[in-house]
Structures are given as structure tokens and as C-alpha cells.
Subunit: 425 residues, 2 copies
């Protein structure tokens, strides 16, 4: 099956909105083994939309349209498809009921044209909108499949995940099932990781193996088509084992959970609390902990000690450490970790100090970072990093690596090149 | 002039990269008054690229291609255009020199095919790459203009800003000049702002007026075409005055500077320092200060007091305040601001407390936020906000509103609905 994605919206052509939908849909289709050769974007214009659909019909059998399902006069996707395919629009009563209920329970008055959002193409299968009002649909027509999705990503994503994928699998797989597993890695570059599993990726057509990177965190998705769930699980596991055989040391979890969330769950599970004293990252590590709603169970507070004076006067890093080793040092990072642990009464203290850039500090080049760890009264150590990026990317990588050190500490995983390691405090 | 944007890269069709280039280029073209009716994306495939160019030639006179200028065998944009238009590729010596110099000064060995990045279409005007190696170009051919840009955004953006825009203006304007001014607003929604200047936006064709929003911060760009710089300035200023007449109270600055940067500059200018005690925002406000490389001149440190115990035991918010008013209160926000100011020796202290959500706290609904301000020994007050969004958006809006309060404080602008305002401490 070959797909084409058509995005509809004048705001996209004006550059007011970046088209993240096309990328999201492409990823989901790739996981199903569906090839995408074209993305096309047109404005809220019926003539140009019709032309785009006609062009797509000549080169694809799955046409995915996103945008233009709302209640305003700019929203013309359904109407255009209805005329083009000569298929009526009919009322989807379930959606109409949802719209009426929604407006009863809100302070907004229901506009007359709101019913527009409940219209579907006759004989199409509706795709429920779990987070909004406009219903989506998939229409099988003349050997082609037309999929209509809403434009807002927070409506489109759940519709694709929860409803479209199942419908596509039915059409694609002839009673087959699809089993997918997502592996997450940290501490290796995307290029290095891709190289290590190059052979597996290239040789596999079923299961498929796809690699995505998101600034330090790498996702590998294994997707198998099979006759039964069990067979699919087995095929997936085989490939997973082959992948982990060469990447186990970088593996940090399954699914879409980010590294910070994995660490949060480990802290919860082990009933541990965490704190930090931050210099170059200036609050970003603490903020990454508190972005999570469960933060209150593992975190009470922390400190940003940006200047040398505050490190000494408020956090009480010793003058000897500062004079002898400087603030960009393993010694200072460890003492920041220890003192923050004492100040906020946490099990784990993290100290982050270094040179974010662009300038140098204490003769250390930009991107040099020391992360110190103090665990209960038992263990302290630091690790030195060098990130050769711009200021804020260096800061973000420092935050991620701090999470990774905490994860390895909790799970008692090996940590290479520890500085000033002390187990007997 | 009508433009079409063609993005080239298999990684886009796989969804591994979101196509932000098409949006960026569209915005820049819109500011020049150039209409864009189609975005098209194809993979690294010469045949499909050629088809896309042919289609574009039938509906646009400016064809902007991004991607495929690199040194690998996947990079086929120039070669495809060369064959399609029957125009030779020739060596751009300046670029070749840059590539040789770059490799002399780095640890990377120069691959043989690196010279590919120095080839340009004969008779095209080269567009310098200020941040990378692959040269861009604009070719005028058969009444059409073909623009070739590199794919990486950090190479594409400066090439467009610094080189392409000037070339386009020459071709567009027949000796005319282009004068552009960017106004920034905060504290009003995009819809409200658009409504207030609806008439100006609709009635204007020269200067054009464009509105963009980025989570709380709104940008209005006024662009005039004129015979002289002076005439352009005058036309721009007239429209600017009309816009500010109805939006002055929300205006915070010119250009692309973000609100946090405007505040940083004000602090520098007034030689003031800042600190904060954060609860619901958990480090995000401090992090937004330290993301700036000039942070060291206005900031020494701050604290995250997430739990009630830490607010009391470490920051020394009084037990009376906590018992009587709760931690989600104007009183607590002000005391957090005062105590942080004392602890870190800053001129301005900011206290952020509230309910990020999704759950309630102290019977206050999610999105309720109090921001307290303590200015030297002179002034304290708080302001109550209600953001009805999800957890992390509520946190981000709290951070932005804290910056806005500081800006108004420094500039002595009116601040409405102040709670517990005290000028005589």
C-alpha cells in the first residue's frame, strides 16, 4: 500500500503553524509498512484541494487528509470530497449527541453550524475524536482509502493511535495482527546506534525496525505483522533480543516514556527522594523533575547556585574546594550534591556545574560539565562530560545525563570513568 | 509573484524530521508579499523531484527547494535541476576554498565528494552559507526563479535572512526597498489582538500586517514596500501608530527578542539583580533566566520550594502565613518573594505558587497561580492568575507572567488588580 498525505490549512502556507501532522502520520504509516512518497499542503481552497486529491489518486491508494473538519466556513474538506467523489454527507448521530452534551456542560453557546462537525461521508467508517468535537472517517471507495483527520495535533494523535491504526490494519493485513514494541536508548549517538544494528534494520521486512532520535534519547520501534498475537510477540522478541545483544548497556526502557519519567518511576518504586544544586543548568534539572505530576512524591525542593558566592554563602560549599579545585570541578560537583542533599533532606543529591558557553570559565572549554552524585550517606562520585554544542543544548544534555546517572545509581548499573568515587562515608 | 516550496528528504517522508523549513520560508515570503499556494515534499529521488519541479513550474514563478545540497549520494537536488533545465554545474571557487580551509582546521578528513557542495548551476547567483559548507543559489531561468537552499535549519535560516531576502527584493521590487518592523505583545490572546486590529490588517496591502502567536507572546510584523528607505519608514510608522493606539498596554518591545530577554536587558540597564522562590513552576522561571548567557550579571541563585516543609524549614516562610492563608495564596507568594530576596541578596524577588494541575490543592482549582513580587525594601505585592490549561502550559504561562510583572515593575507601568500592595516597608 502506498500513501500520500495532504495537509489542509492556509495557516500552514503562511507559516503560522509548522506541519507536525505530516511527520506524525508518516511515522505511524511507516510502522505499518505503508510507504509515503509525497506530502502536499494546500490552503483552505476547494479547487486546489480537489486538484491535490486528483493528483494523489494517480499515485497512491491511501490518501490521508488532515485539517478542515471544523465548524467554520473555511473548513471545506468533507464538502470537497463529497462533491469530488459524488458521495453524500450524512449526520453521524453519536457525534451530534456529543456536541450537544458538550455545549450543555460548558459556558459556550452552540453555534448553528456546529452540526457540520457531525457530518460524515456516506458509507465511511467514523473515527471517534476522543479529545475534540469534529469526527474523523475512513472511506473505502473505488479501490482507494480516503482518511479524513482533524488538524489540531491533540485531536489527530489520539484519533490515529486509538482508531485509525486499527482500521488500517484490518484493510492491510487480511486477518493478520500487528504487534509493535518500542525500545528506548540513551548514551549513544543515533549514528552509532544505527551502525550497530545496520544489518538487522536492512535485512528486516517483517518485523520492521525504525530508528528515531530526539536530542539524546533514541527510539527503536519493532513492528511485526503476524497471523496471531502470539506469533507476532515471538517475532518481535527475537528481533528485540538481537538489538539488545549489541545495545543493552544503553537501553533504558520500553514505550514512549522519557528518561526523566523513567527516573521518576524508579524513585517512586524505590521510595527515594531527590534534590539538586544547579549551576550551569540553572533550574532546568529541577524543572524537568517538577514537570511531572507525581513530582511531589519524590521531590521537596532544590537550589540554583549560579554564582560562586551563592555556592559558598548559601549552599556552604567549602572555600577550600573552591580555591583548590575551582567551581568547574569534580570536587565542587560532589560537594554541591552533598550539600543539597543535606539542605533538602533527600536520599539522592545531584550537583551540576560546568561551562554552558559560549565563553570559557576557569580555563575550561565550553561544554565541559561535571555532574556530582551523593547517595544517602553511602556513596559519592562525579563524572566529567564534554558536550561540544551551543549553550542551551549543552544545558539540556547535562540535564539528561544527570537523569541517566541517577537511573544507573538506583539500578546499580556500571558507571564508567567515575571521578573521586567514595563508597565509605 | 507566486511561490511554491519543495522540500526534499526521505527523512521527512518517514516522519523522522518535522518540516519546519516550509513554515519558515513561507513566513519570510509572506513578509515580502509573495503568495504561497503549495508545499510539496518528496524523498531523495530524482524522478519524483523532477516531477514536483515540473508541476510547480505550471503554477508558480518562484520555486524554492530545500534539502539535498550535501556531499552524499542521496543529495541530488542540484544534479536534478541541472539535467531538467539543461544548465551546467560549475565550481564556485570561494566555496571550494572555504571547504578546504574548514577541513584543514578540523580533525575531519576531507572526503573526495565534498567538492560537490561547491558546485552551483551556471549563471546562478550563489547564496553564501554562513553556518555550513553547502552553498545555496538563485537561478533566473525562463521567467522563473529557482532557489536552492540547504536542509539543516541552522544553515537555511541565516541563508534566507542574510542573502536570499536581498536577492528576492531586487527581483521583486524594481529598485524599490522593503522596510519591516516587528512589534511584540503580551497579556492578550491572539484572537483578541487580531480582533482589535482586524480593520487595519484587512485594509492594508502595503504595508502588510501579519500576526503570529507563540504561547502567550504575540508578534505583529509590518512590512512596507517603498521607493526610498525614508518613505518606507514613514509608511511603517503610520501603521505602527495605528496598531499601538489600540494595543499600547500590551506592547513589550521590537524585534525577535523574547519577553525573558527584554526583562534581562532591563535588569542589565537598571543594574538590578533578580531571584525567585518557585513552587508550582519548580525551577522553570530560574531556568528561563539562566538560559541567557548574560544571566551572570543579573542573577546569582534561587530556590525551588516544592513542599510546604521546605517553604517553612529552608526558605523560612512563617508558619502563621501557611496556617492562616495556605501555600496557594497572595500572602505566601509575597513571603516567598521576600525571603528569596533576602536569601540570595537580590534587588527583586519573585515568588511563584499555585496549582499546576491536574488535581486541586487547598480547594483551589488547577491553573490558579499567585505570583508575588518583592522589590528592594520598598514594595511588595502579589497578583492572582487563572490559566485553564494543562499542567505544563499552566507552568509556562506562570513563568511568562512573572517576567511581565517584573518588566512592569522596572518600568513603573500600571499593574492592575494588585493584591496586598504595600509600598512602605
Amino acid at each position: 500500500m502506498r500513501a500520500e498525505i495532504i495537509s489542509i490549512g492556509t495557516e500552514l502556507l503562511l507559516g503560522q503553524v509548522v506541519n507536525s501532522n505530516a511527520a506524525f502520520i508518516s511515522r505511524e504509516l511507516a510502522a505499518l509498512g505503508i510507504e509515503v512518497y509525497h506530502h502536499v499542503t494546500v490552503g483552505d481552497n476547494a479547487e486546489r484541494l480537489k486538484e491535490a486529491v486528483e493528483t494523489a489518486e494517480n499515485r497512491a491508494d491511501l490518501i490521508v487528509l488532515s485539517g478542515g473538519l471544523g465548524p467554520t466556513e473555511d473548513d471545506i474538506t468533507k464538502q470537497t470530497l463529497s462533491r469530488h467523489l459524488n458521495v453524500d454527507l450524512i449526520l453521524h448521530e453519536e457525534t451530534e449527541d456529543r456536541i450537544i452534551t458538550y455545549h450543555k456542560n460548558s459556558d459556550f453557546e452552540m453555534p448553528e453550524n456546529n452540526q457540520l462537525q457531525a457530518l460524515i461521508l456516506a458509507e465511511s467508517t467514523p473515527l471517534a475524536n476522543d479529545t475534540g468535537l469534529a469526527v474523523g472517517m475512513i472511506l473505502d471507495h473505488d479501490d482507494r482509502h480516503y482518511v479524513l483527520l482533524p488538524g489540531p495535533p491533540d485531536e489527530l494523535h489520539p484519533m490515529v493511535e486509538n482508531h485509525l491504526k486499527g482500521e488500517l490494519v484490518k484493510r492491510l493485513l487480511n486477518e493478520q495482527v500487528l504487534v509493535s514494541r518500542t525500545l528506548r536508548f540513551f548514551g549513544i549517538t543515533e549514528a552509532q546506534l544505527a551502525k550497530r544494528i545496520e544489518k538487522i534494520v536492512k535485512e528486516q521486512t517483517n518485523p520492521t525496525v525504525a530508528v528515531y532520535a530526539n536530542e539524546g534519547e533514541i527510539t527503536v520501534r519493532v513492528t511485526a505483522r503476524a497471523r496471531t498475537e502470539k506469533e507476532g510477540e515471538q517475532a518481535t522478541e527475537e528481533i528485540e533480543s538481537a538489538i539488545l545483544a549489541s545495545l543493552e548497556e544503553y537501553f533504558f526502557g520500553y514505550g514512549e516514556k522519557r528518561l526523566a519519567e523513567v527516573v521518576r518511576d524508579l524513585l517512586l518504586e524505590h521510595e527515594m527522594t531527590i534534590t539538586a544544586a544547579e549551576s550551569l543548568t540553572g533550574g532546568a534539572f529541577l524543572s524537568s523533575i517538577t514537570s511531572d505530576l507525581a513530582a511531589g512524591s519524590v521531590f521537596e525542593g532544590g537550589i540554583v547556585t549560579y554564582s560562586t558566592e551563592i555556592k559558598h554563602d548559601v549552599l556552604h560549599v567549602s572555600q577550600e574546594t573552591i580555591d583548590e579545585y575551582g567551581v568547574v570541578s569534580a570536587e565542587c560537583a560532589i560537594e554541591m550534591a552533598q550539600k543539597s542533599r543535606e539542605m533538602f533532606g533527600a536520599d539522592i543529591g545531584v550537583g551540576l556545574t560546568g561551562v554552558a558557553g559560549p565563553g570559557s570559565l576557569e580555563d575550561q572549554i565550553p561544554g565541559t560539565v561535571y555532574i556530582g552524585i551523593a547517595y544517602k550517606g553511602e556513596k559519592t562520585f562525579a563524572k566529567r562530560f564534554h558536550f561540544g554544542y551551543k549553550r542551551n543544548k549543552n544545558r539540556r544534555l547535562a540535564v539528561l545525563n544527570a537523569h541517566e546517572l541517577v537511573r544507573r545509581l538506583i539500578l546499580d548499573k556500571p558507571i564508567e570513568n567515575r571521578l573521586n568515587y567514595d563508597e565509605e562515608q
